[in-house]
């Protein structure tokens, strides 16, 4: 994989990740944001967050099973886009949906489990996004950094729960995302078992950044 190909692929990934924003802007400009635009924006940004979280989580297992090691170079980018969309999602709720009604916020954050769960996931993503730079990794040390970024599993699980609890009757979509998440976690277990079997016990652990 040459540097030029990586750059070209990054451009494509940028455009793909911005797709939902383009979609919403296009719908806005053509007055086609449905009868309930705020709901459509909330749903679109929320779903996109969940999808990108799952893509981020898929990179390591796919990389290890296929040997396509260059995939790791896209993980931070996609993870940061997931953060971008959760910020949009939360801002839509706060700014457009309840329109900075702080009383409503206090009720939602104490009485509404699905909002609490979503908010906790949002809070957890902040340190992850903040420590996404090479500088932060150096500063923290790979071990600590890896440990912190294990939060991504919790965040994705909370995301699925948030979606599940929000739905009225048709759980097919959250169930789909939940199954994918379960599959990805299972893949990790598989990888872990494989590495235990292959690796002689005396061998030094892999450099922190390459694994996770």
């Amino acid at each position: 994989m040459t540097q030029r190909t990586i750059v070209a692929l990054k451009v494509i990934v940028w455009f793909a990740c911005l797709g939902p924003v383009f979609y919403l802007v296009f719908k806005f400009l053509t007055h086609d944001l449905s009868a309930n635009p705020i709901e459509l924006i909330t749903d679109t940004t929320g779903t996109t967050t969940l999808i990108l979280l799952l893509v981020t989580l898929a990179i390591t297992p796919v990389r290890k099973f296929t040997g396509l090691n260059w995939l790791i170079r896209f993980r931070r980018l996609i993870g940061l886009f997931a953060f971008f969309y959760i910020v949009l999602h939360f801002s839509t709720y706060l700014g457009l949906d309840i329109q900075f009604d702080w009383h409503q916020v206090s009720i939602d954050l104490t009485k509404r489990p699905f909002i609490i769960v979503g908010f906790v996931a949002f809070l957890m993503m902040i340190p992850l996004a903040a420590t996404s730079t090479a500088w932060a990794i150096r500063k923290m040390g790979g071990k600590k950094w890896n440990l912190l970024h294990k939060l991504i599993y919790v965040i994705a699980a909370l995301g699925v729960i948030h979606f599940w609890w929000k739905v009225k009757a048709d759980h097919s979509q959250p169930a789909m995302y939940g199954s994918i998440l379960a599959l990805l976690l299972l893949a990790r277990v598989g990888l872990w078992v494989r590495s235990k079997m292959k690796r002689p016990p005396s061998r030094k652990p892999e450099p922190a950044l390459v694994g996770d």
Partner: protein, 321 residues
């Protein structure tokens, strides 16, 4: 029914009728009967509507019971943003998936504890009210926290009930939606316990605000809005307004209702609009009127307290939500 002249029939209706003539049946019939016979037997039926309520303009008077001082929700929003899980759970699924839904012929069975049970078509039901169709502009508050203002066209439910002559034992009225998974793809999955059922207490059903709607915005109901005939009870959350009704039954005990069976702690039998009783998962204090940016306060009984509050005096509405 008067036979319409060809020129009276809207183009949309002709295509609609033609759509549901199964092509193979048509060809088979043609093979047996010969082309001439087909033309004389089938074409008039294709061209003259069996029911006056398929995509047609309706004649109606304006009701005094209409809600005043509200802007109507754009018809486009009322026809593209629907909760009608029989056609799918996305808001635009009913709009997309109900186009071929067959609403004619249609039979509603009126049965149970009554002296005059009957099976009627939509035209027959409308005739039960001697005043003819009337337009009722009502607010519609969805349990999800959005609302619309819709000019329904229909008849008072009380007219139908009176015609059936319910017995004194009849305390409730139960309603049922058609069950037809072939036409309603949402029914192919067990999202809800099909067929959809709803119910009202007898006094609620007899309340002058309760109507059976067969149209809106001057025309017959679009399929995605509950064609050919649906319930509208504007002081209750929208899901009480059961769509595409095939059965109206008088019963002694409180009948089961679909959403209550699905999640009893979230959806009660009464489901009156009440800003003081939250849905367990979200607030009911405010709502977003479709087309508006700011949320507005939800009104007790959706603003229809003058007509309906007395029916619930003495009841603990936190318990009977």
């Amino acid at each position: 029914m008067a036979i319409k002249k060809l020129s009276d029939i809207p183009y949309s209706e002709i295509t609609k009728k033609a759509e549901y003539l199964d092509r193979r049946a048509f060809l088979a019939a043609a093979g047996i009967a010969g082309a001439g016979l087909v033309a004389s037997n089938f074409l008039p039926e294709m061209l003259s509507p069996k029911s006056a309520f398929a995509n047609t303009k309706l004649n109606f008077t304006k009701s005094d019971l209409s809600t005043h001082g509200e802007d109507l929700t754009p018809e486009k929003d009322v026809t593209t943003y629907n909760n009608f899980y029989e056609f799918g759970t996305d808001k635009d699924d009913p709009y997309k998936n109900a186009t071929k839904f067959r609403t004619s012929p249609w039979t509603v069975s009126i049965e149970g504890l009554c002296d005059k049970p009957q099976k009627l078509g939509v035209d027959g039901i409308v005739k039960l009210d001697s005043n003819g169709l009337e337009e009722r502009v009502y607010r519609m508050r969805c349990v999800e926290g959005w609302s619309m203002v819709i000019p329904w066209i229909g008849i008072p439910l009380s007219a139908v009930i009176k015609a059936a002559q319910p017995q004194s034992k009849a305390k409730y009225v139960a309603f049922q939606t058609i069950y037809d998974p072939k036409q309603m793809e949402g029914q192919q999955r067990q999202i809800l316990d099909w067929p959809y059922v709803e119910g009202l207490r007898m006094d609620e059903a007899m309340n002058p605000l309760s109507i059976l709607a067969v149209g809106m915005y001057g025309e017959s109901l679009p399929n995605q809005d509950g064609a050919p005939i649906r319930l509208v009870v504007p002081w209750k959350y929208g899901f009480k307004g059961i769509k595409s009704i095939v059965k109206i039954k008088f019963v002694e005990k409180e009948p089961p209702t679909t959403w209550n069976r699905m999640a009893p702690e979230e959806y009660g039998f009464y489901s009156n609009v009440n800003p003081n009783v939250d849905h367990p998962r979200w607030s009911q204090a405010t709502e977003r009127r479709i087309g508006e940016f700011r949320r507005r306060k939800t009104l007790m009984f959706n603003g229809y307290g003058d007509f309906v509050a007395s029916m619930y005096s003495g009841m603990d509405l936190k318990k009977y939500y």
